[in-house]
């Protein structure tokens, strides 16, 4: 069953080379699939596939089994399907549809995610805007603070009290939805624990002037003062922005 062994060798070398390419020249693609903390797995996988490949080559003539090709060939082809999908996966991105499927929309059209509860647990609840779509600008804290800097969304989300009233800059994707209140858009990035499959949208709200039009599903860099967006007994960060700059997707589109 020489042909079967040849097929196996081909599968092994394709996988080994594919993983080796990902970790060397394909890092931009890998960054959209796997948490950098787990990139060693790709190296490991490539090495193990290469060892399997070498062993198959060395023991090419010492086959003791007589496999049924019709039975084994489909399973070998199945092993190559993920690589076939890479042809498509390398050009695609998570989009607004992903955002909708991975968040929970409340009956009044607002969106919620898991981080809101964590924020609520660690912060004093807002005094105003109990269940209305009202942004709370924290005027007191806003005074006298003008320093601006780029902040990770995770940082802003988890320690937003430290940024209240301060001007910060964020890079994120836009989500514009007619269900949201007037002049309110959302700005999000995906938070991943291991890989893109577990990505959860982490979002803040953008309060923009009427004169500004924000395009949906675009990467932006924007700057504004941090305030609180209170909704459904949960407080979330909001930026009071004046303008946005459309930018390229970052090398690492996710936050960790």
């Amino acid at each position: 069953m020489m042909i079967f062994k040849v097929f196996k060798i081909v599968v092994l070398i394709i996988w080994s080379l594919f993983l080796a390419w990902l970790i060397t020249f394909g890092r931009n693609d890998l960054a959209r699939l796997l948490h950098p903390r787990l990139w060693w797995l790709v190296v490991c996988g490539s090495v193990v596939f290469f060892i399997f490949f070498l062993r198959q080559v060395v023991s090419f003539k010492n086959s003791f089994s007589n496999p049924d090709l019709a039975l084994q060939l489909p399973s070998l082809l199945i092993l190559l399907l993920p690589i076939l999908f890479f042809y498509r996966g390398s050009d695609v991105r998570f989009n607004v549809d992903t955002f909708r499927t991975r968040t929970v929309q409340t009956t009044d059209g607002s969106y919620l995610n898991s981080m809101s509860k964590q924020v609520e647990e660690t912060e004093e609840p807002a005094e105003k805007g109990d269940d209305t779509l009202e942004s709370l600008a924290n005027e007191d804290l806003a005074e006298g603070v003008a320093e601006s800097k780029e902040v990770q969304l995770t940082q802003l989300y988890r320690q937003y009290d430290e940024y209240l009233g301060k001007e910060v800059e964020v890079v994120c994707q836009t989500f514009v939805d007619k269900e949201l209140p007037e002049n309110i858009a959302m700005c999000y990035r995906y938070l991943i624990a291991c890989c893109a499959a577990d990505a959860q949208p982490l979002f803040i709200f953008l309060h923009y002037p009427e004169s500004l039009t924000i395009e949906n599903d675009k990467w932006i860099r924007t700057r504004g003062k941090v305030s609180v967006f209170a909704k459904n007994n949960a407080n979330m960060p909001e930026l009071q922005i004046e303008q946005v700059t459309y930018v390229e997707e970052p090398a690492f589109p996710y936050v960790f």
Partner: protein, 348 residues
Amino acid sequence: MYRGKEFTAPRPLQESLGIGLQIIFILYVVFILVMGQTPVWKNLIDNVAINFLAITLEALPFMLIGTLVGGIIEVFVPATMIDRVFRKNRIQAVFLAGGMGLIFPTCECAIVPVVRRLLIKGVPFSAAITFLLAGPIVNPIVAWSTATAYTLSWEVVVTRMVCGYAIAVSVGLLIGKFFNRQNGLLPGLADSAHNSCGCLQPVDIESSLRERLGHAVDHAGNDFFAVGRYLVIGAFISALLRSAVPMETFTSLSSSPWLAILLMMVMAVLLNLCSEADAFIAASFRWVLPGSSQMAFMVLGPMFDIKLLLMYLSVFRKRVIVALSLSTFFSVLITMLALEYFWPGFIS
């Protein structure tokens, strides 16, 4: 000299069915890929592509490591050691197997090849089942990821570990009552002697280290080709569901705790998430669903999901898979209902 037409036995129906299903799967995946070119399907298929690749890239290396560990166990661990540790007292072996993950942390993608080798090596059936279920939960890496996802809420971590251990031991003991190596394993595995899987040359005890390593790699490679396709099929189904089913589908149906538990269990089976990552998804329901339902998701997922179910096909007979699935599912359900009843405010 004319020899006449060579006689070939007809292919068993089950085998033909297996080949047919695999071909249908390949054609379906290619069809999906082609449909992704059309504007209507583009967004969905884009999501499927990213999820499918991401799950495969994360799971496949873990599985490869699992096959290597399995190969090393096959060649280097003497059967006498297995006898000494596991065969003296089978009940004790089950309790021991439930905690083995603490010493040998193994994720759910790697566990099947490892257990396959342990069974070939002679580990008792019930102990192997227990390790299969408990290994991906009762281990320090999963404990840490759970703690991180739940902002160092140690009651969540301890509850997950304890529930995982208790359910795995209970199911292991139960399955061990009705099944053994002979009636539970696939014929090829059940017939294996302790020192050889039967697919390769037996390893001589006096073989050189290089030869033995070579044999270990051979075993690992064979395990990869035996189990790998199930991982890919499972990853694809998971990616499809992850992309097509919105989170709202589940949250909108969560009007009662028992329904929420059931829904989260179904979601755990469908999503096929790695046990390292599932706590982060469970935590995303922290303010939406009761704690017991989040725990149900975290306990059932590493024990029983589509990917694992398909990988089990490379080890167990179908009746064992059915019994294992049902007993695991209902054990988790009963445990979580009890948790909800006795500790309603769990994970507030």
